[in-house]
Symmetry: C2
């Protein structure tokens, strides 16, 4: 049951990250640092797996058990609701929309953009783990959030939930970021590792799928769309750019052959799919490319599902952040970090 | 001339970092991100090189030229003042004491502790680049700051000015930090690199001195006191410990021989002086030790004056931050980051 004054959350999406987040919130007592995160989930919507709503706060532990057993929410639960995300965004009473639906490249960020816009127009805060709205509609949505006095936060969109945007907001303040580069797509990084060990490209894709990082249709990763969307979010949020993913130059991991990997190896290098945002005259350009990096370059050290970002700034110099072996809790944590920031901005 | 509403700074110390900070503030227009950092220096004190004071704001460009030419402040300047730091802390009118004096291991953090305490007792904010007060008097000074409603910030004490403490305050919120490990002492890291390339320990010390990182008396670095002080600050600030540097186990870099380095190399490893803070039962322990790390461990990748910290947390997992080739501006930036945080907390 939510305490009076609890932050009321609407979870739009109940996939891996949504369920992991719900699990952490349900087991909050196991995490000493979460003692003062006072949040209650009042709605959960999904694409096609039913919805729950309870203004007194959904019992997350039982919702998780139900979903595991039935693979969907059904009218057997007293808190079952006939609601889609659009209806919940417009009709439920919540403080924060937590947008957890998957990235849609074909939809150019929709329908998540519409959900985020709808929440902001109602004066509700938004925490998005979906990078689509920030990659395709950054200016519009940040302007709307500012106009309505709402928070729009998105720590989980890049590098899972590791601090990237909060780092830049607080820890790099006063610096101008000249350049950002990083290894940020797990599927292609797992693939390149497998190919270095002798796998064919097809075997490498299968390995990434077995590792649980590649989608059943891994095209968005392989063709660089996921990485391009991350570049757009980074460039827009941290370098004042106005880039959409289609404006980011993309190279497919399919351009990297076993021969090319071996040749790089013979030069003491590795090939990594590197995301780049950099200033070029008065503008900011974005690029995703297969880059040969020396083995002692931190970019070369990123293994498997790890990720890394290097910031080049005018005062601080070069600063790098890296994450090793993230799991679903890492991404869910990005949402939690944003909820702390929302809470602090309300206090 | 300070604008009305400028934050008035007292710089206690005018060594390399103080002069670099003054240079950045004097050339503020060259850094777009500093446009809204409205600060004026109303006092500069030194150990034995004279002092300046001007309530209208010291002309930093001319002070820097003067100091370069005369190696001290002298009565020839109209803003010359007969003031030591204690007198300035007690008597000048300032908003923020910027403590820039060097670490004194023999003095167990004094006289900087007294200066910090004096400023806080007067209700002034403190930004310290000197780790002594935080290593030897953390609880007392943070409690005093809280009681007086003042900021006590110290981003420049560990990893130069790279975001470590602001990262933990904002980006890792809600996590419990289980373990911190890092390579944080430049002198010993430069020495180990030289010794790997065949230098004797004495040659290695000389190389670190030529690189400008080792003091004329490098004992505090070699015996691990600088590193132990950093461990104490990290453990106290981020893990709730109450450690002083003398309670941190120390191993001297002198324990690392050329033979031991070569043996590690033959196993695909390097030896690094690693700072560690970790939970052990209900307490937090600190340790500085020569540790053999695999070449593909990020700790092994830290070259020369670079540094790195790995945080192991309960929710986010493992998160690493690293800095390459810092210069004096990097450390000065830590002070600037803290000034932004002070300014924000006043707003």
């Amino acid at each position: 049951m939510p305490q009076s004054g609890s932050m009321r959350l609407l979870l739009a999406g109940f996939g891996n990250v949504g369920r992991t987040l719900a699990g952490i919130l349900a087991e909050r007592d196991a995490y000493p640092g979460l003692a003062d995160l006072d949040a209650a989930v009042v709605g959960i919507t999904t694409g096609s797996h039913g919805a729950l709503a309870d203004s007194r706060g959904i019992d997350l532990a039982s919702a998780l058990v139900w979903f595991r057993e039935h693979r969907r929410f059904t009218p057997g639960r007293p808190d079952f609701a006939t609601l889609d995300t659009a209806g919940a965004v417009a009709g439920l009473d919540y403080d924060v929309l937590v947008e957890l639906s998957p990235l849609s490249v074909a939809g150019r960020g929709e329908p998540a953009i519409t959900h985020v816009r709808g929440a902001l127009e109602r004066g509700r805060h938004v925490v998005s783990a979906n990078k689509g709205p920030l990659a395709w509609a950054y200016r519009e949505l940040t302007a709307l959030a500012e106009e309505r006095g709402c928070a729009l936060l998105y720590e989980a969109t890049v590098m899972d939930g590791a601090p990237v945007f909060s780092l830049a907001r607080h820890g790099l303040r006063g610096n101008t970021i000249e350049r950002i580069e990083g290894v940020l797509n797990s599927t292609t990084n797992v693939m390149l590792g497998e190919m270095e060990r002798g796998a064919s490209p097809a075997e490498a894709v299968a390995a990434a799928q077995r590792a649980g990082v590649a989608e059943a249709d891994p095209a968005a990763d392989i063709e660089g769309w996921d990485a391009a969307a991350k570049v757009a979010v980074l460039a827009n949020a941290l370098m004042g750019a106005e880039l959409t993913p289609d404006q980011v130059e993309r190279e497919s991991v399919a351009a990297v052959t076993v021969t090319r990997l071996a040749a790089a190896g013979s030069r003491g290098c590795r090939i990594k799919m590197v995301c780049e945002a950099f200033r070029d005259g008065g503008t900011v350009r974005g690029r995703v490319r297969a880059r040969e990096v020396r083995r002692d370059d931190p970019l070369a050290l990123v293994e498997g599902t790890g990720s890394l970002i290097r910031f080049v700034t005018d005062i601080l110099g070069t600063f790098t952040v890296a994450e090793e072996r993230p799991d679903l809790a890492t991404t869910a944590y990005g949402v939690i970090a944003d909820l702390f920031a929302v809470r602090l901005s309300r206090a």
